[in-house]
Amino acid sequence: MKVDGHETEAAGTLLDVILALGIDLPHLCKDDNLPPIGACRTCLVEADGRIVAACHTPAAAVQEVQTRSVRAIELRQAVLRLTARMHGREPDVSGGPRSGELWAAYAAHGLERPSYPSRPRSAVDLSSPFFEFHEEPCILCGRCVVACQQLQHIGAIGIAGTATSARVTAGAAVAFAESACTACGSCVAACPTHALRPKPLRATHRPGDARGEEG
């Protein structure tokens, strides 16, 4: 098969082939270690003239892929503009920016055009001792949920609700600390934004640390 003019072996999915060739393609909901979800729609490419999501299209049946056709780029731009509805600026969170994949995709697609009106969401859950959930930056990619349910087999979180009510939800709509969450951190590692972020581990707040400021 051919990808952007390069001859290559057809193995796995189109995304596998594309990434193996060192070609950049956003894939916000596809984690290397997890099965495809198909939710973010940022991995669109043109395959034999059809627009498909690279992350869940087997390479075997495809002859020619174009990741940079005008059509593919235009659709990815439009999807990214819709993605940008959901979140605001990258905040100054400890450990540096965490939404690298997302901002790189915006930059690569020249998203200087005005975006669609934003759809702010504001739930915050600080109950876990090790991480925090902030709904505002969440792009509902579903990676955290698949990591929790299918990688860890814990099933502490899901995405509850339909349409624009859909949101990452622990247990039966309880706080993380009251759910089956074991604080394994898989969801935090899988999250491509800073929606799920580690708790700042400041020395003075370390559990068991007897030499805190008050001491």
Partner: protein, 481 residues
């Protein structure tokens, strides 16, 4: 799950039946009851909760009052007011304005009958014939008939069965009686009035496919249809071999993989394809999902032969199609017509005005509008017009464009936005924007948004959501500025 035979399905397959039962008893689901059910089934609470919360008809707090229809045909009635407990459609578009629970489909609303809606002869001759022919020959007969699925996608039925069989056993068979598209009530008509025919088709499919599990998935609100089906099932040769599931809403259940997720006790959202359901569907089994009307046609084909079926309809689209006609007509109801019949003829037969004031909504929220001068088109699978209007599941709502088109287009756009399952970004974020643009008259921006919805969305709901908006703007753009 009624009179449950001992099928070896994973325990979580009992989630939806238990949630439905609990919802029935209490009128809503609370956190405690979902947690309790999850524990009983040994599944994570969050997974049970996300599954429950994906079903749009479940309430999570007590509700009072009676649901009234906010659907298109009902809202056309003089004096109609936005109900306090609105329902997208109550599937009684033939007797507007509808409110409250569903009622048995009235026989007099069968305005034109054909081989599928005609009275049954109270024998199981088709099933016996299938037995005598054997699976291979029965499947060949079905293949010769050229039957294509009546759910709306028109995939050749025999090819679907063969694809599943080629994957090997065990396989699963699902009768899709979820019928959730506003303005479509033909499966309810078949189930209420001719359940034996549907059951015979199902029995024949079981003969051919030898499934490990057969499930009839019936719309959660379609009480009379479910009761008629279960009564007929109990008296049929396949009694005890079919699990009856009831849904709890969600237009997205029209997408087969979302339906399978619902049965598996998962969040009812579409799965990425491939694999197709016939490759790996219910719990990974090759799975055949067929619509009620398709099964009724299977019964006719095996009884009367492929040639008899091919006498009706066209060479590419043999057989009949049941249209659900509502709106501004004097004779609303179901019309079973041979494929290839002119759409305009059916509308005139139903008593529609049939002049330049007429607009037709064909294919509901996934279809689009058609002006009268394009209505003399044969009823065939596919689009009547590239902007959206299509045969789909056979819904036809007759409108007066000057008074209705604005409200109708907005109602359809709102319905799609509401019914988006919320999984993929283009549809979840884009469908409500499309409604906003249309409502505020920013129609110049519609094209780009409609394009990304159509080509980037994961499933048919999002892909086809632009139809009503695009077609309304194509023919009556002046109404929206």
């Amino acid at each position: 799950m009624s009179n449950a035979p001992a099928f070896a399905l994973p325990r979580r397959a009992r989630l939806l039946p238990l949630l439905v039962e609990r919802h029935r008893e209490h009128g809503f689901l609370d956190r405690g009851s979902v947690e309790h059910i999850a524990r009983q089934l040994g599944m994570p609470v969050a997974e049970a909760w996300e599954a429950a919360a994906s079903m749009t008809e479940f309430h999570f707090e007590p509700v009072r009052g009676e649901r009234s229809c906010a659907g298109l045909a009902c809202s056309l009635r003089p004096g109609w007011r936005e109900p306090t407990l609105p329902a997208g459609c109550l599937f009684r578009c033939y007797e507007p304005p509808a409110s409250g629970d569903e009622r048995p489909f009235p026989l007099e609303m069968v305005r034109r009958s054909g081989p599928l809606l005609a009275p049954c002869d109270q024998t199981w001759a088709g099933l016996e014939r299938a037995r005598n022919l054997g699976p291979a020959v029965a499947l060949e007969e079905l293949e010769r008939s050229g039957l294509r699925g009546r759910g709306g996608a028109f995939f050749p039925t025999a090819a679907k069965w063969r694809a599943a069989l080629s994957r090997g056993r065990p396989l699963a068979l699902v009768l899709n009686a979820e019928e959730g598209e506003p303005g479509v009530f033909k499966d309810r008509a078949l189930l209420c009035l001719r359940p034996e025919r549907v059951l015979e088709g199902l029995g024949i499919a079981m003969q051919v496919l030898q499934p490990a599990v057969t499930i009839a998935f019936i719309n959660g609100a379609a009480e009379p249809a479910a009761a008629a089906f279960e009564r007929a099932l109990a008296a049929s040769p396949i009694a005890g071999d079919v699990l009856v599931y009831r849904g709890a809403g969600g237009y997205v259940l029209g997408e087969e993989t979302a339906l399978l997720n619902a049965i598996e006790g998962r969040r009812a959202v579409p799965r990425p394809r491939p694999p197709l359901p016939v490759e790996a569907g219910l719990f990974g089994m090759p799975t055949v999902v067929n619509n009620v009307e398709t099964m009724a046609a299977v019964s006719f084909i095996i009884r009367e032969g492929a040639a008899a079926f091919r006498e009706l309809g066209t060479a590419h689209a043999p057989g009949t199609r049941i249209l659900s006609v509502s709106g501004r007509v004097s004779r609303p109801g179901v019309y079973e017509v041979p494929m290839g019949t002119l759409l305009s003829d059916v509308v005139v037969e139903a008593g529609g005005a049939g002049d330049s004031s007429t607009a037709l909504l064909c294919g509901g929220p996934s279809g689009g509008f058609l002006p009268w001068d394009l209505a003399a088109t044969p009823i065939l699978p596919g689009r009547y017009h590239p902007t959206g209007a299509m045969l789909g599941a056979g819904g036809v709502v007759v409108l007066d464009w000057s008074s209705d088109i604005r409200r109708a287009a907005l109602t359809m756009a709102a319905y799609n936005a509401e019914q988006s399952c919320g999984k993929c970004t283009p549809c979840r974020e884009g469908a409500p924007l499309l409604l906003e643009l249309l409502g505020s008259g920013r129609t110049a921006e519609v094209d780009e948004l409609a394009d990304v919805l159509q080509h980037a969305s994961l499933c048919g709901l999002g892909q086809m959501a632009p139809g009503p908006v695009r077609s309304a703007l194509e023919f009556w753009s002046g109404v929206f500025v």
